[in-house]
Subunit: 432 residues, 2 copies
């Protein structure tokens, strides 16, 4: 692969800020080198130049390994699956994926090639709750936990929508009602619904949401990049939230995607329930849906769970989560999330606000609601999205759920048309 400066990758690292209007010449390719084949962390001990650490993990050479070994580089907390038997993920009639072609840059492209272009680490397709395709690439296995990055936000959004449904969270209340400390921050007056729909307006961290910026400051503040010796920036996500600067009024203007909204929601959820976000995911989602593995959750420098991008999970449990949402909150006979919550999520968001945002260039006609991304297409499809192209794509009208875990560092999401074309081609093949 071409040599890129590590900072090119840091820009696309853990947080999920968009870089808009990408110059195609500057779009980094997906990472397809297999870590074990190029020597990364191979051997006992690995050669010094092959050892990953907090200083070098964001380099193109090490990032694919890191996405699949987060707890070896960062500090994490468990998301327990409980003690029971995992729910079945039954096998269905295998999908002949090799028969499918998708259009990419004017060329009919085989799926195997598409997986390569997209830097796929794992690809799993459920149709009517049955596994019709499951493939792992490089060193990935069915049990490898992979960073989901900002897919985490959709878990946070689903939890918040559930608490609202239970009457424990007032969507019209300002965040400061639940977290009084936020009164002095630009985040304080933001309504819960503004946070959920990315309609809060503020500046979070030093440079975290300046489109195209390197995000180094924010990642140092989170503690997921080393800090310089005389670092004086914020220590952890709470410090960043408290220092959020006001910009314009909340709840108006374009949808504006920002980690700060998810962090504030995570803080609110913790105060409302007295439980951490990873514990809430465990109790309300992971355990009742019958996950087969514990997940992991990234901690910041103060050991606060990073609500904006903390979750690591395997493809099969992410598929269970997507299938539960597709199935109106049910897993078998068990209602894990109230059906009304899923219906509310599936209403989607304000399409005009989305059209006015730079994200409309990537998802034209889309919207954002309850921390999910909506395509408003003929399949009613919607998804979670995480940096390096993590996706759980749900297409209710095709009864399809697709999990894609990948190592695509392109923060401009210039390969989104190929991803969506692949998802849709599979949905079409399964419904024909």
């Amino acid at each position: 692969m071409p040599k890129l400066h590590p900072l090119t990758f840091i820009s696309a690292a853990l947080a999920c800020t968009l870089v808009h209007a990408a110059d195609p010449a500057k779009v980094p390719p997906a990472i397809t080198d297999v870590p074990s084949e190029v020597g990364v962390m191979v051997g006992s001990p690995p050669l010094p130049e092959n050892q990953v650490n907090l200083r070098n993990y964001a380099s193109p050479r090490f990032m694919r390994w890191t996405l699949a070994h987060m707890s070896s580089v960062f500090h994490t907390e468990r998301v327990s699956r409980g003690s029971g038997k995992p729910t079945d993920l039954p096998a269905g009639k295998p999908l002949d994926i090799d028969a499918l072609r998708v259009d990419w840059q004017g060329q009919p492209t085989a799926m195997a090639q598409a997986f390569r272009i997209l830097g796929a680490d794992a690809f799993l397709v459920l149709h009517r709750g049955q596994v019709v395709f499951e493939r792992y690439f490089g060193d990935m296995t069915p049990t490898t936990l992979h960073a989901t990055n900002s897919c985490t936000k959709s878990f946070v959004g689903t939890l918040a929508a559930t608490l609202a449904n239970e009457g424990k969270l007032d969507l019209n209340a300002p965040a400061s009602r639940y977290v009084p400390e936020l009164a002095s921050s630009a985040l304080g007056p933001a309504k819960i619904r503004d946070l959920l729909d990315m309609r809060a307006n503020f500046r979070f961290g030093d440079d975290v949401h300046q489109a195209g910026s390197l995000q180094v400051g924010a990642l140092q503040a989170y503690g997921v990049l080393p800090r310089p010796p005389n670092y004086t920036g914020p220590d952890g996500s709470i410090a960043m939230m408290l220092a959020a600067h006001p910009t314009t009024e909340h709840g108006v203007g374009p949808m504006r995607y920002d980690n700060g909204s998810a962090e504030a929601l995570g803080w609110v959820l913790s105060r409302v329930t007295g439980k951490s976000v990873p514990d809430l995911i465990s109790e309300r989602l992971w355990q009742p849906m019958g996950a087969e593995q514990d997940a992991d959750f990234l901690l910041d420098s103060r050991k606060a769970p990073i609500a904006a991008f903390g979750l690591q999970a395997n493809a099969r449990d992410l598929a269970r989560f997507g299938e539960m949402i597709r199935n109106q909150g049910r897993v078998g006979d068990k209602q894990v999330v109230p059906s009304a919550v899923v219906s509310e999520i599936r209403r989607g968001g304000d399409r005009a606000a989305f059209a006015a945002s730079p994200d409309a260039a990537v998802l034209p006609g889309g919207s954002y609601h309850d921390m999910w991304w909506f395509n408003h297409d003929e399949l009613d499809s919607f998804q979670c999205q995480g940096q390096f192209a993590q996706r759980v794509w749900i297409a209710p009208k095709a009864e399809v759920v697709i999990v894609l875990l990948s190592a695509d560092p392109d923060a401009s999401r210039s390969r989104e048309p190929l991803r969506l074309a692949a998802f849709r081609a599979i949905a079409r093949a399964l419904t024909n």
Copy 2:
């Protein structure tokens, strides 16, 4: 609890060096304060004085929390359970543990009191493979991963004995046959059987096995304590192994317990199989025995798995492991470890070499073999042992397995008589 200098605890932290001939007045009590009740890591955010980090975790105030949150403080790697259904851990006729008394310091002591004296975090009893008692203390739950510390060694020993049984490891070969780099180290000429039985003689790390020393140097070398700014010591366990100093001939003299032997075995296992110790535990033990949770494995500063004390697991999966060993390597119809390997382990070790060691004061009449501790009592009992009093105690003649996870910082093991008396009273009650 009385205030103790943090270094008192560091001495008893993760590694398992013995402190002999303890002065009873200096024996620290078990930690019984419940972290969540005394504010440790409570709140979002916790008060600054309640936040655990790499500098303060070894203090009496924070150590109990840390034993149950290792991946939040250190770097870890997963030990995968695989994707299948966990094996059953069926409930048996409940043991009336409150009816039992054990003698401690001349007083009949109720079990509830014994648990408190021993700083129990979890206590689980299997009789004929059925759970007859299972209790968690403080913040512990059935799914909490707890440091097993040097219980890890018995996993390493079991793996090595299995590879020897398969002809992949020659017990009479020197370690340097498998790891040529060790030729220049005092560990190189040690035979595999000397390492397995703690009959290798050398000095490991700066001060790691000087009885009663603070071990700060070794823990800094592992990277599990912060290093001073001008630190020039070894970086990681491999560097410590390479720097091991010769003392006397291997294979003679008293049994001499040392982390270095386990580290060397871990290195040998990795070279023989091409797999890391955590991956070997997953493939050969955790997956086939049907664990219900992934375990975690501690990494050193170079991200090498710490074979001497790296494993964290929940009590229920440790019980499955113990029951598999008690059952001659079988779980249900599946032979997980060859029966001959368990028989070889159960032969026990050289009792004269053990009698000549300081450990004989704690386990009189005992021995050490294949990284397990033997009591040579009427129950044929043996156990793994980890610092802060982690135990999996197996009593074949009583068909009993007991898991004790605890927070007892007494490196002199002065409360061992109470622990063993409790185990034996339970075995007696179950077999009467």
